[in-house]
């Protein structure tokens, strides 16, 4: 039985750890400190924690001002607000200046569940990919979240880290986390499944099922959407000649389209993409929504089979 943990708990803990090591680290939230888990940092370092109430645009601007004076702001809210509501501020005040601001959002994707469409960020990766200078990380589980947070504190420049709401299974990983370097979680020779976030677990489950059908699937955890690990993608194309991408995000502008661009320009490869197809979300349990929006292990299996 794998361990089920909240990625956002790992974020909160990593943030406190960083706060103890580096006094330049400050945390900002917009009335969601309990949910995003910045509250722990606020309790430990009250002078370095700022809540801006329900005003995300101002929060992003303040983060820019703090960064202009050498601070390292970790800014948190839900993904829907951090990416969409304050997009212009993220673009013009943070990314254009290449400020050292870390936007760590939670409650991303369809698995927010019952809150429904208004709270389900399913286009946020596309929004962030539309801004130059932005590094985009989608960790697959809690330990990787901690590694990602520690890594982005070391990195100089803006970063968007996308976390979900529900608990996620902890996955076995051997190598050390590095921004921009994909993690191969399973070797295989017939097909590659490239996934990010919660979809990595589904990809591993699909690979296991495929093995029973006599197909060997390679599973790649593409935790960094930008800079994208092109080498790893092209290696998949060469080794397995077939690629399926999986993301809890719209197909427009997400991981799948990023991978497809790399392949189309270098080694055109038969592909299938798992993701949300031009729809809004809706209320429901995460499990039901995963099925309704065709993001399940069965959907991945079907997509893989189609390529043979």
């Amino acid at each position: 039985m794998t361990q089920m943990l909240y990625a956002r708990d790992a974020y909160g803990q990593a943030l406190i750890e960083l706060g103890g090591k580096n006094k330049e680290i400050v945390a900002l939230d917009a009335d969601l400190a309990g949910s995003t888990r910045t509250a722990g940092f606020g309790k430990k370092f009250p002078r370095r924690f700022f809540d801006f109430g329900v005003a995300e645009q101002n929060m992003m601007g303040v983060a820019g001002g703090l960064a202009s004076c050498g601070k390292i702001p970790f800014v948190s809210t839900f993904a829907i607000f951090g990416s969409g509501r304050a997009w212009d501020q993220v673009r013009n005040t943070i990314c254009y200046n290449k400020f050292n601001v870390k936007i760590v959002v939670t409650h991303a994707g369809i698995t927010v569940g019952p809150d429904g469409s208004s709270h389900q960020a399913i286009g946020d990766i596309a929004l962030m990919r539309a801004i130059a200078n932005m590094t985009i990380i989608v960790p697959c589980d809690a330990p990787e979240t901690k590694e990602a947070i520690l890594a982005c504190a070391e990195y100089q420049g803006p970063v968007y880290v996308r976390l979900g709401r529900p608990k996620v299974s902890t996955l076995a990983k051997k190598d050390k986390f590095k921004i921009g370097r994909a993690r191969i979680l399973r070797e295989g020779k017939d097909i590659s499944i490239i996934a990010c976030g919660i979809m990595v677990k589904q990809a591993l489950d699909a690979a296991e099922a495929l093995e029973k059908e006599g197909l060997s699937a390679r599973v790649v955890n593409m935790h960094t959407i930008r800079p994208l690990d092109k080498k790893a993608i092209l290696e998949c194309a060469r080794l397995t000649k077939r690629i399926v991408t999986c993301e809890e995000h719209l197909l427009s502008g997400g991981l799948g389209s990023a991978v497809a661009s790399v392949l189309a320009e270098n080694i055109p490869t038969p592909m299938a993409m798992i993701g949300i197809r031009d729809r809004f979300g809706q209320s429901g349990s995460p499990e039901d929504l995963i099925k309704e929006y065709h993001l399940s292990t069965d959907d991945i299996l079907r997509a893989c089979r189609r390529l043979f």
Partner: protein, 269 residues
């Protein structure tokens, strides 16, 4: 402190640079640049502590031009102060220039890019909070436009600045009464301005934004205010100093032609 007469002379020189720069560039925003000239001249040559030879001096007072389209004024002031050679002014808006159409990091003396309106006051709050953490006693100044404050983010920031008791923050509102589409009161009325800022928890000072003595006195008063931010509401004339540009909305965002520039420079002698 330089006497009022000196500052008036300086402001005139800066207005001349604005006209020449815009005429050369062929596009840009003279109206608001000219209406804020006296305010910025006072800030850079009598009020702020800064070191043109060391633009990143940590103790420097900060200035954020939230109404970024008035950067021709900012560039003229910065070159007059010695941040970069005057010849750079003649490259405004050209490919590869350190002087972009709206302010950014290419220009020595510009800390944070602006241009998308409504964002600078938030940036200024960030600078205040950083200074507080670092125990640096610098002050932060922010120039706002009267059209600009129609942006919702301004009021988010207004609330936050009062909440965090940013008493080393002094905003200046260039109240020239015009925006691109016409008169502010016709397009989207922002009055009652003083009441609005007061009710958001700010100390307000109302002045004539072209009276150097009043501008200097307002900045002095702002320095004495405790526990709340200050906004100087400066009544100004759009296009101030050039008769045919004054209160002419067309010159919000249109550069003078060669002939107009010649006439303007005659008036600014």
């Amino acid at each position: 402190m330089p006497p009022v007469k000196e500052l008036e002379k300086k402001a005139k020189r800066i207005r001349r640079l604005i006209i020449k720069m815009l005429e050369k560039a062929g596009s840009g925003h003279p109206g608001g640049s000219l209406s804020s000239t006296d305010i910025l001249t006072c800030l850079y040559f009598a009020v702020m502590r800064h070191k043109p030879e060391n633009p990143r001096w940590p103790q420097r007072d900060r200035f954020q031009m939230s109404k970024g389209h008035c950067c021709p004024l900012g560039y003229a002031v910065l070159t007059e102060a010695g941040y970069f050679p005057e010849k750079e002014l003649w490259t405004l808006r050209n490919l590869g220039s350190i002087l972009q159409g709206h302010p950014d990091w290419r220009t020595p003396g510009v800390d944070v890019a602006s241009g998308s309106l409504g964002q600078g006051l938030s940036v200024a709050i960030g600078m205040v909070l950083a200074g507080r953490l670092d125990k640096l006693p610098y002050r932060v100044y922010c120039l706002l436009g009267d059209g600009e404050i129609q942006e919702g983010q301004i009021w988010e920031a207004a609330m936050a600045a009062a909440h965090y008791r940013c008493d080393n923050l002094c905003a200046v509102l260039d109240y020239n009464g015009y925006q691109i589409d016409g008169r502010v009161k016709d397009i989207m009325n922002v009055e009652p301005l003083t009441d609005k800022w007061r009710s958001f928890g700010w100390h307000t000072i109302n002045i004539d934004g072209h009276n150097i003595a009043q501008i200097l006195a307002a900045f002095d008063e702002a320095r004495t205010v405790k526990d709340k931010p200050t906004i100087i509401i400066a009544k100004t004339i759009k296009g101030k100093g050039v008769s045919f540009m004054e209160n002419v909305v067309d010159f919000h965002g249109r550069a003078p032609t060669q002939e107009e520039a010649k006439k303007a420079l005659e008036e600014l002698k």
